[in-house]
Amino acid sequence: MASDSNHIPLSAAQIPADDFARMRSENLARWPTGAEVDLIEAVAFQKSLPVHKQLGWVMRRAAEEGRCLTQPRGGFGTLKLQLELMQALDRDGMADIVPTTTDSYTRNEQWTQAQTGIEESEREGRSMLNGYPMVNYGPIKTRQLIEAIDKPAIVLSGTAMPRLTVEIGFAAGYSGYLGSGIAYTTSYTKDTSIAEGIRNYQYLDRLAALYLEHGVDLHRRQPGFLTGTNVPPCIAIAVGVLDALLAAGQGVRNYGLELAQTLHLIQDAAAIRVCGELAHEYLAAAGYEDMFLPVTSLHWMGAWPQDDAQCQALVAYGGTLAAVGGAVSVTTKSTHEAYGIPTPQANAEGLRTTRMAVYMARHIRLDDLPEFQTEADLLRRETRAIIDRVLEMGDGDAAIGTVKALEAGALDIPWSPNRHVQSRVMPARDVDGYLRIYDPGNLVFADDVAEVHTERLKKRAEEEGVAYDHNLAVSSVYEISEPLDRLLPFPWGE
């Protein structure tokens, strides 16, 4: 694991070159396929890809041209199944960005178990792993996946331990990599310290920056969904900006920020706008003037309904919200979400529904709507309050500030499984469908800002005739997954 870096004190500073070289060779020695990684050869392979298969270039072009690209999630346990899946997503789904999700063993660095999983999957002819075991296959074999598609590919691997996977992924020709130290450690681990998660992603970002130094403009991306469950935009943006500061510190310049949809058209559009704005502002203030910081919008990350028809509306609205918000890309789900990993066909359908929705809303912008501006102003104040406090606690160091702030609850994540996070903040939906904060825990907002949240939520309790208590937050977790006869009944029958 990350034992190597435990004696380097935590900071946002760049990992020194010699330390990094040592860390890399230790890391690559952990599994045989690590020996296949040769940076210079990998750089040459990345450069040999046409630009339209390089996600760094594609994201920049999409941003320039005002496009909203589509990207699904997806991983199966063998090279063959993964290859078919990626072709289906590329062709039938018309995905602009093709994913490879890794399996849970790979995420937990249990490569021996992953090997068993591959063998069982090959015997059974169906995937016994919930993703692609990238480390086990290694970069040379995995290049077959890159060659099988005509789009850029991205690695999706929800873990706080990405070191070997990223080495393999970049060497295999993946030009995008999702994951970050704060977001994943707070949402995917229980005991892992925030410092350790940050260090692991500093390694990853340093590696991406090394490719950049060799002329390869890889796309790094922060997983803005965190715990996926009613994360208020101010928290998501604050974490995104902090993760971006950490990445920039390692030399990354092409860094995407994700935001999970709240499903409120105006709140989501304001969030996408403010996210881009504040990211640029804080990164520039830290001396990173030349960052490319595109925003990706994520289909609803909370609990989904059981009814296909309802899910279709969520999928389509997911495209609408991304397009109206001006997101550079949208990450899609499918009608199978409540049950399990979608079939390639359901996944491709989700992509096409989303794409059609994007097409229809591509001209719409709400930035001049007074309600949008009020919401954006509120969001700016909330988010600045959090980030400023974190940076203050770290004396300007984002890494140290984050660890302290999470410990103290000055930065907080709702529904986090991690012990080092207070997770006292309680979000809930308000009377107008905005996601607000019922209980801020130890988050500190200006009085008038806090008052907006309380007032709007009290209004909801009043309208629904329920108590003003934490059940507002609980029912907001269930809400979108409820059947229609609870959400919107015909109200006048017997």
Partner: protein, 149 residues
Amino acid sequence: MGTGGQNSNRAEITLVTGVIGADTHIVGNRILSMALEEAGFKVVALGALTPADEFIKAAIETAADGIMVSSLYGQGELDCRGFRDMCVEAGLQDILLYIGGNLVVGKQDWAEVEARYRDLGFDRAFPNATRTEDVVAVLDEDFAARRQG
């Protein structure tokens, strides 16, 4: 919710909750834990990413009457292999075992899934999206039956 105290025995019942295996899906489990507490049960919440043996250790330490296992990420079947046997070995032969969540990979026939978990020794299995009111009601029923039986 708000049904706390209806059953005067709840305060004497201790339930261990947690998410088994390498599973981080804590939301449903935390909501369940909150609801059980509000209903008047004593709750020992182990949180996400809890290995099977930690459930049992906690149950012994707290002399628990039931274990409420959550599993969402699809690998529940692997994580629960031998769970009842481990309980028996640890002297918890009578402990009530419930499990709930997305108990298998993908969409499968629920009756079959339920049967599989009964075979693993669970008294009851619940599909995802089960509401906490319903869990409380069933707990009352099962504990009432035990008192009489």
